[in-house]
Amino acid sequence: MKNRSIFLPVVTGLGFLFLYAPIASLIVFSFNESKLVTVWGGFSTKWYGELLRDPQILGAAWISLKIAFLSATLAIIIGTVAAFALSRFPKFRTKSLLNWMITAPLVMPDVIIGLSLLLMFVAMQGLIGWPAGRGMTTIIIAHATFGAAYAAVVIQSRLVDMDMSIEEVALDLGAKPMRVFFDITLPVIAPALVSGWLLAFTLSLDDLVIASFVSGPGSSTLPMVIFSKVRLGVSPDVNALATIIILIISVGIIAAAIQISRSGKKLGN
């Protein structure tokens, strides 16, 4: 391999530029004094100040964080249990049904998930009176459902990779299955639980379409507020918000990645 062509590095470089230039521009222009994207009016943090005085955005952010936290927690429970059933129980009657249902949300367009869940919530309310109206509860249920699908994928791959002999030894020595799960399986798959939870959390925080369908009055999430703002054009306070979100997520992801690679080394893989 002497005559390495420059084609691949150039395309890859441009590809990464394509991926990161929009993100970089969001951050740069959040500090722009001017309201115009193309005009640099000097460094300013005034959009951050404006953001912090906007009760609509702050309220929506708080709602979104609550929904994301609760739905990710619910998703990780459902996802772990589903992944465990699929990877540890050799055969049960509903196995292929469960396998289908846990992976289908991954490829289902948001508009279909949102519409179908809303229509079902309405029908359920008519039949049994629950859920009474739409709001945070229905958004949490919707997000937990697709979050569980993503979490299950992450956790299942860890469960399949994991050395099962430790579990088998514990079972042979007479430990009850439940105890084996909590004392052995869970600590080993902990990194996958963390990344699965983070994934479900960010997906929930990010979702516009499904939340728009299943939300009710007074439960507008952050993406819904952002969407109605940016439909009218570029607004620099959204850039400031984007910068804050990107900063928090990047720090979280990098910290999680470091933590996971450390604990991975400790466990010897």
Binding site: V11, T12, G15, F16, F18, L19, Y20, A21, I23, L26, V37, T38, I78, V81, A82, F84, A85, F89, F92, T94, L98, M101, V107, P109, D110, V111, I112, I113, L115, L117, L119, M120, V122, A123, G126, I141, T145, A148, A152, K176, P177, M178, R179, F181, D183, L186, L198, L199, D206, L208, V209, I226, F227, V230, G233, V234, A242, I246, I249, I253
Partner: protein, 318 residues
């Protein structure tokens, strides 16, 4: 209740505790482990589709909820009124057919471009030294974690008439008049390729990283030119990744709503937006349901192809 031989203190007695409660309730852990996710997904994923199917066969009416009931009891007889009018309506009104075709076209073109950009990137990452590979991979995944809505929004600032791209092209003298890019199909292509590029790169990478250097060396030792090696060795081995990546771009692109809403123009007619408007603006739930089911029918084949490709690449790695 004290036992003479106290069991060794465990770090997590929660499991045993839970098990004791369950056995008192007459439930086996195994049953519960299967039942919890199955029931949840059954109620909140599968049943909703049946509801959509039911409502697509009813008639829109001014009521709460705004559709007719398809069955009613009359003197002890169950009457079933199926109304296929919504589907006929989709056939008659050319708008819907055009929207489905436009969605397929936009999704297809975007997938081709994502493949053309994603393949060289995935190949480069897969061939780079170990130390650099993980960083590059992380750089591919990171944008996926940051808000999708905000990343699409960022393109407005790039593409608009007085946006960054036009400012750059005008300043360098490449163009004399600003290009109109925002609110065109072009902007939608850019948005879709940009958003779903990581979905293309990751399965391609997973396939290409398994490519054995020895195969490439053998091909070149036997006198194959690089292009020949690529076409006869690399490309065939990457096929499952190409199919999986393409479907992972194509499928969500079909149902996309946010990207055409923010970047597309009034002429950009995608089926996701049609469904959205049918539901939120026209409040016609039965027609929206019919649109959703037809969209699902359009997606069945791509989803099956994806499943097959994923099974194939999993099979190859084991």
């Amino acid at each position: 209740m004290s036992s003479p031989a106290t069991p060794r203190k465990t770090k997590l007695p929660f499991g045993s505790f839970l098990e004791r409660i369950l056995s008192k309730l007459g439930l086996r852990g195994r049953t519960l482990v299967i039942a919890i996710p199955t029931l949840w997904l059954f109620v909140f994923f599968l049943v909703p589709f049946l509801v959509v199917a039911k409502i697509s066969l009813s008639e829109a009416m001014i009521a709460r909820p705004p559709y007719s009931s398809i069955w009613n009891w009359d003197d002890g007889v169950l009457n079933l009124t199926l109304n296929f009018g919504n589907y006929l309506f989709l056939l008659e009104d050319t708008l819907y057919f055009a929207a489905y075709m436009e969605s397929v076209k936009i999704a297809f073109v975007s997938t081709v471009f994502a493949l053309l950009i994603g393949f060289p990137m995935a190949y480069t990452i897969a061939r780079s030294p170990d130390s650099r590979r993980n960083i590059l991979l992380m750089l591919v995944i990171l944008p996926f974690w940051t808000s999708f809505l905000l990343r699409v929004y960022a393109w407005i600032g790039f593409l608009k008439t007085n946006g960054l791209i036009n400012a750059f092209l005008l300043a360098t003298g490449i163009i004399d008049e600003p290009l109109i890019m925002l609110q065109t199909d072009f902007a939608v292509y850019v948005g879709i390729v940009y958003t779903y590029l990581p979905f293309m790169i990751l399965p391609l990478y997973a396939n290409l990283v398994k490519l054995d250097d020895a195969l490439l060396e053998a091909a070149s030792d036997l006198g194959a030119k690089p292009a020949m090696t690529f076409l006869t060795v690399t490309l065939p081995l990457a096929v499952p990744g190409i199919i999986a990546g393409s479907m992972l771009v194509f499928i969500p692109a079909i149902g996309e709503f946010v990207i055409p809403a923010l970047l597309g123009g009034p002429d950009t007619l995608m089926i996701g937006s049609v469904l959205w408007n049918e539901f939120f603006s026209n409040r016609d739930w039965p027609v929206a349901s019919a649109v959703a089911l037809v969209m699902l029918a359009v997606l069945v084949v791509p989803i099956m192809i994806l499943r097959k490709a994923q099974a194939a690449s999993e099979g190859a790695s084991q």
